[in-house]
Each structure stands twice: as C-alpha cells, then as structure tokens.
C-alpha cells in the first residue's frame, strides 16, 4: 500500500468517526471517558474470544465458529456496559457539566456505541494496514487492488453499525423490547458472517448487504432515538 492509498483508506474509514468525535464527544470530558471505557470493554471481549479460540484447538481453522462466539462476546459486553452505565447514572449526573448526557439516555448509548465501533474498526483496519506497509498494492497473486478500499469501507460500516446497535440495544433493554435485541444480535451475526465471503474475494457480495443493513439499522436507531419522518423533513427544510 502506498502513501496516497494509505491516507485515502484511513480518511474513508476514520474520517466520519473522527468528525463525530470532534463535534459530539471532544468538548465533554464525561463523554470522552465513556468512549474510552466502552473501547476497553470491547477489548475485553476480544481477549475472551481469543482465549476461547486458543483453547478450542480443533476448531481453530473453522472461522465461522470463531465469528459466532466473537459476536456473542461482543454483545455480552455491550450488555455489561449498559448495566454499568445505568447504575452509575446518578454519579454521572453529579459530575457532568453538560447535563444532556444524563437527561437524554440515548447520548450515553451513542457514545459507548461509538467507542465500541472505533476500537473494533481500528483493530480491523490497522492490522491490515500495518501488515501491508510497502510500495505494493494487492493483486500479484490473485486478489484485486480494490481490497484496501473495500476493507476501509467495511471498517466504516462496522463503526457506524456498532454506534447504531448500541442505541437500539440500550433502548431495547430500557423498554424490554426483545424484538430489537434480537434484531441487534441477528444483524451483527449476519454482517459478521457475510465477511466470510471475502475469502473468495466476493467483495461486493459483502459490502452491498453490509451497507443495506447499516442504512436499515441507522433508520431504526434514528427512530428509537426520537427521530421521525416529520422531524427529518423539518430538519431538511431548515424550519
């Protein structure tokens, strides 16, 4: 991967999350702390999945097995962070300068989801990027030179999905909406298993459904967070 490719992919994958961070997280210390805490919990889930992968020797080559359990662990830790955040709400309210954090439940969900997403996106892409430092691009022995850009796009989808999933997930537990919980688990599993198709270089077969799911999940999250077609229309019309 050459330098222009590197910057192109990095900007594509991390440009939107960076903008989100700058405008919605950076000016509030409490949100930064929650973001990092969420990232830490995601890392814990990674640790558990790797331990499992390491322990179950016969299934090390069966990627689908690892994927399923990794998804389960991630969702478990999403639940754990949900419990923690809800139980520390009082304390947070006391220290927060900006009371919106605690007044609007979705902000906490959004921030922790972004933390989840950024760290998982980073792990997804940074390893790919670091492993491929050098003057070449993909394609000498099979593979296409679109590999990097699709990887970056996939990482962006994952980051956004995690954000949306957290919003839906937190709200679903608040309101005991089991359908939404099932949706989060299901779509996470679906998107993760989709990436297995990358092994055969079916990049479009992965990317297109992933983005469809991302858009659907985004719409759902928007609705859950209090948006509606009416408010979206009002927003666009600048009223």
């Amino acid at each position: 991967m050459t330098l222009p490719e590197f910057f192109g992919c990095t900007l594509l994958a991390f440009g939107p999350p960076f903008s989100l961070f700058v405008f919605t997280i950076a000016n509030d210390p409490v949100r930064i702390i929650i973001l990092i805490a969420a990232a830490f919990f995601w890392l814990l889930s990674l640790l558990l999945s790797s331990l499992l992968w390491f322990a179950v020797v016969p299934l090390q080559d069966v990627l689908a097995f690892g994927v399923v359990f990794s998804v389960l662990f991630q969702e478990c830790f999403r639940y754990i962070i949900y419990r923690i955040l809800r139980s520390t709400e009082q304390g947070l309210h006391a220290v927060a300068e900006d009371t919106r954090v605690t007044e609007n439940k979705h902000i906490l969900a959004y921030v922790s989801g972004l933390g989840f997403g950024i760290i998982s996106g980073m792990f997804a892409l940074v390893n790919v990027l670091a492993d491929m430092a050098g003057p070449g691009t993909m394609g000498l022995k099979g593979g296409t030179e679109l590999f990097f850009i699709t990887s970056a796009a996939q990482a962006l989808a994952i980051i956004l999905l995690h954000t949306f999933w957290s919003i839906i997930f937190f709200n679903a537990f608040d309101t005991n909406n089991y359908l939404h919980i099932a949706y989060v688990m299901g779509s996470h599993l679906f998107v993760s298993l989709l990436t297995l198709l990358n092994a055969d270089a079916h990049y479009w077969a992965t990317l297109l459904p992933s983005y469809i799911v991302t858009v659907l999940t985004g719409v759902l999250a928007f609705k859950v967070a209090g948006g509606s077609a009416r408010s979206a229309k009002r927003f666009i019309m600048c009223q």
Binding site: T2, L11, S19, G66, S70, A124, N127, Q154, T195, L196
Partner: protein
Amino acid sequence: MANLKTTPLWLLLLLQVIIVRGERTRDTMYQPILGASCFRRLNGTHQTGCSSTHSGSVGVLHLINYDADLDFLLGNPPSPPYAPMIPPHLFTRSNLLRLKEAGPKIISAVLLINKSEKMQQFSHELSCPNKYSGIGRGGNSSETCDESNTALTWNPWGTGLLHEDFPFPIYYIADFDEILKLENCFTKFNSVNFDSQALRSLCAVEVKAFMSAAVNSEVCMRRTNFINNLGGSKYCDPLEGRNVYATLYPRNSSEFIDETKLRKSNPAEKFIIISCRLDTTSMFDGVGVGAMDSLTGLATLTIVAHMLRQLLPDQNTLPDPHRNVLFVAFNGESYDFIGSQRFVYDMENLNFPRRSAQSTPISFENIEFMLDIGTLDDIRNIRLHTLHKSSTVAQKLLQQLNRYAKSSLYDFQLNIGSNAGYNMPPTSAQSFLRRDDNFPAFILNALPSNKYYHSIYDDRDNVGFMYANTSQDYTALTDVSDFKNFNANSLQMKIRNVSSIVAMVLYETLTGRQYEYKDVANPVLSDEFFYCFLQSSDCPLFKASSNPDSPPGLPLPPMRYISVLGGSQESSGWTYRMLGYLLSQPQPQVLKENCTQLPLFYYSGFNGTGECRLTTQNYTHALSPAFLINNYNWSSGQYSTWTESTWSQFSARIFLRPSKMHEITILSIGIVVFIISFCLIYIISSRWEVLFDDVPASNAAFPPPTNC
C-alpha cells in the same frame, strides 16, 4: 511464529476474513526474488559500485531483449521509474552509461538476468587492472599497460564498469525459476499494452541495497573513526584478509620474543619466493569463483609446492643448506595489490614473519629471486616477464624452463616465451618492483584470453573443468606417461605440465643437478584441487587437509573475494590448511595426543586415518599499509585505499505498483467522504434538537434526575 499464529485470529475477530489457510495477506502481495547485489566500494578518491535509496528502490519491470528496447525506457516512458531486466550480452558499457545518464527518476534499478546464451564476453574490470598501483617510470602506468592500444592491455575485454559509480542498485538473478517469476509477472501485467501503462497497476520490483558510505575512503574512514560518532555506526571497512605463506623446509632460525630488541635478519638464509594471487572479485556479492583469472595460478603454485616436497632431499644435503623456497599466496591483489603491498611493507620494516611466529625476520637481502605466477589464461603459451633484459637469473630461468618444456622425455607441449621491459602484467611482483626496480622478480604469465576476467561468469565452464572423481591417491607423483585417464588437453593435464616444468626448474636451481626422472606432478591432485575450489568445499582434498574431528566444508566453493575484517576468509583458511598439508613432513613417531601445538598438526590425511605432520605454513595480515600510517595522504596513490561500504541488507521483491490514477482515486474518495461527513455532522450536531424533538420513549421509564 507467534505472529503467524495470532494473525488469523485477529483477522477473524476483525471480520476481515481474507485469509483462510493461515497465509499472511502480505504474502499474496509480495514475492521475494533471490539474487546477489552489487555494492559500493571506495578508494582514496572515488566511490564505485551501487546503492539503492534508503527505503529501497522501486521500478517497473521491463524486459530488454534488444538494444532497441532501451529506447522505450530512455525516450519518454509512460510510467517511470523503471527497472530494466538485462541479459548479460546487453549489459555493456554503453548501455549501462545510457541508463546511468537517464538518472534515478527514470531508471531506479537494474536487474541482470542469467540468460547467457548470446553472451560473448563479460568482464567489467578495467582493461588495465590495477593501473594506478603498478610500476611505471615517473608514475606513468601506460608503459605497463596502454589503454589506447588493446594489444597492450591485460584485459582487452574489460569495460571498467566495476569502477563506475551507479545511482541505482544492480541485482543479479542467477536462478532460472526466479527469472521465470520476473518474466511471468512482466508479461502478465506490463507488456500487455505499453501505451496504457500509466493507467494500470504494473509489476514492479523493489531492490534494497542501501550503502552507508559515500564520497571516498578518506571521508568514510574519518566518519567511522569519528569521536562524535555516538551511535558507533560504521560507514565502511577496509578490505582486509590474510596472505598465506609456507616454506619448503621448516626454518630453524628461532627468535625469542623480546620486544625491546630490534629484530635482525639472518644474512645466511636464502629464499626463492614463488607467489601467486589468492583472491578474485566480481561485481556482485558472494558470486564469482575466478576460475581462470586466478585459480589456475593458485593451482600451479600448490602443485609445484607438493612436487618439490616429494622430490627434494633433506635441506642439509643441498649444495647450499641455507636455501629455502617461500611460497606465498597474496590476498586482495584484485584491489591494487593489498596483500603484496603489505608484504613488502612488512618486509621493509623487518616485520615478516611477525614477532609471534618466533623466527627471525626475512629481509629483501634474503631473497634470491621471486617467481610470480600470474594469470595463465592459455596454459600452452606462457611468457616469462622481466623488467631488465640483461638479468642473468632471468635468462638462466628461461633457458631452463624451455629445456624442460621442450624436452622430448616429457612431451609437455608447452611454449615459454620471454618478454622484457615495462609491459608487465598486473601481478604481485609489481609491488616488489615498485619499491626497487632492480628486484629480481619474474612473472610467468600467459597472453590475456579470458573474456570473463573478474566476473561472475569466470566459472568452471570458462576453464572447461570436468571433475573426474577418480578417488585415486593424489599424494604421490606419477610417471609422465600415466595420464590417469585424463585427456591431454584437459585442464588437469595442462596444470600438471606447467607445474612440473616449474618444479623441475626449481629442483635444478636448488640441487644444482638437472632433473632426469620420469616422475611428474599428479593430474589427480589438480583434479581434486579444482573440484574443491570450483564446486564444493566438502571435497576429498580439503577433508584430507583438515583435522579428522573438524566439520566438513560447505557444499559450495569457498568465497575468494578478500572481503573485510569479520568476513568469511574461507579461501585463505582452506589454502592455509591445504598448502600446509601438501608441504608438511609426516612425523610417525609423534602420538596424536602430543600433536596439538604448531608447527605439528594432526591431519586427516588422504585415507582419513589421521597422521601427525610437521608443517611450515602461516598467515600474514593483508591490510593495506594506508590504514596503518598516521595521516596517510589518501590521494597519493602510494598504497591501496580500497574500503567496502557497510550495508544492512540485500533483498528484492516483486509486487504490483498501483497506478497514479488508482492512488489519486482512492485518496480523493477518502478526502471527499471525510469532508462530506465533517460538514454533515457539523450541521446535524448544531441543529440536534430539531431532529430529535420527540420525547424519547425510554426517558419516560425513568424518574427525572434528582437535583443535588
């Protein structure tokens, strides 16, 4: 290994599953290419050789089949920089200088591919090797070698590229599989349509051969020895090795180590020096055995030594019992006579042999004459070179040489001519003559006919060597009519003939009697010698001349480039043991347990049973005196100043280099997405309330926060 194991795990978790069989993604992008690289050497005034850029030079592959193919690269190429793949017959001075002139922006690397079918010649040494360090009245070397007149040069095919400085790395690829990889990659990606190259991803090569040293030896040695050099980084090392010497008879003139006393030579001792060159060189690291340019000389010296050992009686029975023969193989002679210059310097300072050898020093007064064996390209037509025609020793030598060469008793079919005057071949004797042009030094040298002088192609094909693998005893002399099944025109027989003649002349000189026996040198010894030095160090002769317990040599020929301190020094080591073995006397009465201290050495011997022998061989240091003298004037040209740059690695790999178009597209996608998201999110976050004005459902489920 840990890395390899965890990588699939990470990728799996990160849902970037492209690897299924534990193969790293970068392995599908890069393919290593094995080969040998050209590197940088420096002398007192210049730098020569090549270097890549610090991070490695990248160029698009382009196969050159004809001279005209270069025009495509040097005209207005669509996607520079390029890395032409050049077969040896197109690796000419004019082509390389054209590439050099184009500059590293157009030509970033050159690959020399081993497709030698059309090759007629390949020598990149100067046409006058060592021209700055030879003799010549008033420093004028054109008398020994005239570049303007091909007939008067010592390497008429030399292009001198070894002494050029290239701004790009040159990488030699010998293996046919590796060449196939390159060619396949070229045909698959690059040669489809040359005009649209700028729009495509192209197969490119990256060569890493970055050299630390620059400018010249003076600068890089200064920087290496620099007191501020905090990192302790080395920039260059002087070329440095060991000369090997051995005497025919053990010297019994011991000297006690007393540092305070001045050393004195013993005027009674008389030596005849028989010398040759030990090293060779080529443009590429670790390739080149120098079969014709120097190995024939070393073979002759070795066989002469062995034959004299077998023929001559005890030293006390000689007419002059203080006469001895000193065999010397000089190292680093390819680089302005490093070994012989140092030898002369040591001898002048009464420092040869070293004090630690515990024998009296040998001075120039002890030397009766010196017979230097130069390059023997055409072993049938040899000339004896002398500086002064009037030299009686030379005339006598020539007459004796011719008598044996023409003798019907032996039928050697060898012609020995003479040449007097300054037109002397570039061999070690020049270092002695440079100090004193009346020094009795004579050179046996053939007319130059080696088209691969100092190159990677001066191999066994160049000398037509076929290993007979007779397993016969090579330690005894044979009858002149016993060819041991060798063809009369074979290399083994030719070397047998010339060695026998030289040995007979020395026999006559030492004993005062003509040689009349029918015993001559053994062609099997020559066969074994060439096998060891051209094909494999794991060979019978080297095995016989090592300790039975020492490990066998590698199945590769020993490296014969002088190299630097800490280099392999294989060839001097093997020569030391082999010469020691062939010149030593068996000591059957000494037990193995007592045979541990030099000069006693326990050899494996021909049949591997092990035997104790009294040896005479030793090393001297082959490091140019320029590096010993304080405040040496580097541009004076008095001594060799060659140094070798340090480097961290040599490697090459091929991969697809993305087109500018592709890079720009990806970068713009990234930038556009970033900018759009930046603006969008700014707008959303500034009008946040409008978008989410509905009361969130979940908030109702919780009591309003209490005020503290």
